[in-house]
Amino acid sequence: MKRRTFAVALGLSLATVGVTACGSGSSAGGGSDTIHVLVYGDASNKVEKQIVETFNKTSKVKVVLDTIPGADYQSKLNTIINTPQAPDVFFNWGGGSIQPYVKADLLLPLDDMIAADPQLKSNFLPSVFNTAVIDGKAYGIPMRGTQPVLLFDNKKVLADAGLSAPKTWDELLNAVQVLKGKGVTPFALGGGDQWPTLMWYEYVFDRVAGPELFQKALSGDKAAWESPESKKALGMLKQLVDAGAFGSNYDSVKFTDGGSPALLAKGKAAFELMGSWAYATQQDANPDFAKNDLGYSSFPSVAGGKGDPADLVGNTNNFYSVLKKTKHPKEVAEFLKLMYSDEFVNAQLAIGNLPTTTGTEQFLTSADDPAYSEFQYDLVKAAPSFQLSWDQAYPPAATVPIHTAVQQFFNGKLDVDGFIKAMQALPAS
């Protein structure tokens, strides 16, 4: 009796150990005739599934699409990328988001593929394509759509106050005074999410100092943060906050739970600075408002600033990067070519995304909302510089310190010197 129990127990425990050991074994990794493509799981997967189907119709080597639910994407990718379970191709934001992988020598430079098919580069808008170029080598092909940050407004509120969308910083300051007099919060801000606050820094710094200042800082030149332009930009932001442009409870409001979009839609606020996805967000939550009263414009110019008023900030696009260990680089190149195909562009436009191929223009009339898509496309095409969001341009280790400093400067916990110090302490790329 006892002996048998012991045997069973031992068997059980061995089985446990065995199972655990198998989990980290090399049994996975897919068959030799498939390519695994890993993407951020959301509504856009519809297009990715369609493209994969198209590819598989003609290819011997089949693509398998794996999706990971949005919020967990980056951490899960990070967990598997150096294991046998790693995909062949994966979705990312370019810039700092892939830098650790480039450093660890995991990614395939795409220059040979581009040499074989120059259209892999020439068919995309340069300002976008360059986001995934690291140390002079291309590591990503644009996919999905561009997401510039725009100044959205409530047309009705502006009309009531006798205002139009501000073209200059002075007009913007004037709008703050007028709107406050009417009892309306001038700018809705989801400060609780932190990244919406960051968008204000990105634009004001760009307008005052031009894109070079941030590029310098990003490449490790700490003096950039204490330059006169940097201090001037911070002064302007402080002035705006102190003037009550965002009300006093913005840090309790979020964009992600619908708080700040509701402020704009219900007329409690006149403007919101937000990525182009705000349009789809309003269309989903407040369809009538989106249809009739949602206005949009680009960020105002700053008199005497070095930045071009046509410069943009935001998410330039998403990218597909390729892992070095892939067994099918040829087929991967074929798959990536689909990212500038007519089918891809049409499918993206149909769900409201704006692809960044040079050929997108001729398809704009068939977009979900042609006027809005054209407005965005013209902006992106004309932009001398498209600055990737700071929190994605820096490596992931900098995200938390950037967000914290940005929020603390807005709510007065950090002064100009404190903010500069915090930014200088960021891990350089």
């Binding site: 006892k2 129990t5 012991f6 127990a9 031992l10 059980l12 425990s13 446990t16 150990v17 655990t20 951490s75 990070n78 967990t79 990328i81 150096n82 650790p100 992988y101 660890a104 995991l106 400060g191 609780g192 999410d193 932190q194 009300g247 006093s248 409870n249 913005y250 840090d251 309790s252 409001v253 979020k254 739970d257 708080g259 509701a262 402020l263 409690k268 992931p396 280790a397 900098a398 995200t399 938390v400 914290t404 929020q407 603390q408 709510n411 916990k413």
Partner: protein
């Protein structure tokens, strides 16, 4: 000869019986193997790995590189770490101080015989059934400064900047924690209160003690062991509070509600600095263990004294 042989047989039988008896009352060590293996595999091994990781620099990609005491010296001089420990202690203490009286009163009341008690108890225990995520999302909506309750009661909430100010955010976390956990502790106290012998109350009533005196001099002392159990649960829960912070405040504004558990998550899974994250995790393990041991020691719980002694 035959007597002798039968005698030895009976001796043998007795011995055999005794051996079986020992076997029944004290199970062999073999029975502990499955649990021990599970504990080693899923509790001790990860803990050791975390300890090893805390002496490395690792971004989750590639292999960890040993960097000696770097993470620990960095942690020692990290103002956010110091602040997060303070905040963790403040949140934990606030949780215990707010939840204990409420759950004692609710539990003792629920153990009584009032009318509608069963129905009302069921209602009070509803939060126990909800996930922390659902609770946090609901309270975030209720406390929205522009569309929630604060916008209707400006005389109480001012501009409603609860989650955007340090004191407001701490108050919200404490309140939501209370809403979430009080039912469970009330359930413990209900069980404890039901186990108190009625004789004690009858004797007190004969001596002329009123409800309040009965509560103070019989119920409370008799609930001593329940209280220790409940407080230990609150302490450990408070030290590891994470989900409500993640959803309600994300450690903000700034770092004002970044407690140690959230800071650990931030370092490991947002900044991809698993070395620092592991060091914070170890600190949490040590602090939580020490506090639990201290409570057990100081309260005399380890001596297992019965509250019903002298009956």
């Amino acid at each position: 000869m035959s007597a002798l042989s039968s005698g030895s047989a009976s001796v043998r039988r007795v011995r055999a019986g005794r051996r079986t008896g020992v076997g029944v009352t004290r199970p062999g060590i073999v029975w502990a193997v499955p649990a021990t293996v599970f504990f080693l595999l899923f509790a001790l091994l990860p803990l050791v790995l975390v300890a090893v990781l805390s002496f490395t620099s690792w971004d989750g990609v590639g292999s960890p590189a040993f960097n000696g005491l770097d993470n620990w010296t960095k942690l020692l001089h990290d103002p956010v770490m110091t602040q997060s420990i303070w905040l963790t202690l403040v949140l934990t203490a606030a949780g215990v101080l707010v939840q204990t009286p409420v759950s004692i009163l609710l539990g003792v009341w629920a153990a009584g015989h009032q009318r509608n008690r069963a129905v009302l108890s069921a209602v009070f225990f509803v939060p126990l059934l909800l996930s922390a995520t659902a609770i946090s999302v609901v309270w975030r909506a209720v406390l929205d400064p522009n569309f929630g309750v604060p916008s209707q009661l400006p005389w109480l909430f001012g501009d409603g900047n609860l989650m955007g100010s340090r004191s407001g955010a701490i108050a919200v976390l404490t309140f939501v924690g209370m809403w979430q956990w009080t039912p469970m502790h009330a359930l413990l106290y209900q069980g404890g209160a039901r186990a108190i012998p009625q004789v004690l109350y009858q004797a007190a009533a004969i001596d002329g003690a009123g409800k309040v005196r009965q509560f103070l001099h019989i119920t409370l002392p008799q609930l001593r062991n329940t209280m220790i159990t409940s407080v230990i649960l609150m302490l450990v829960g408070g030290l590891t509070t994470f989900d409500t912070v993640l959803i309600l405040t994300q450690g903000g504004p700034g770092t004002d509600t970044t407690n140690s558990a959230y800071y650990m998550y931030q370092q490991a899974f947002k900044s991809f600095d698993f070395g620092s994250g592991s060091a914070i995790a170890l600190v949490l393990v040590v602090v939580a263990t020490l506090i639990s041991l201290a409570v057990v020691r100081l309260s005399g719980y380890d001596r297992m004294r019965s509250t019903s002694e002298g009956l």
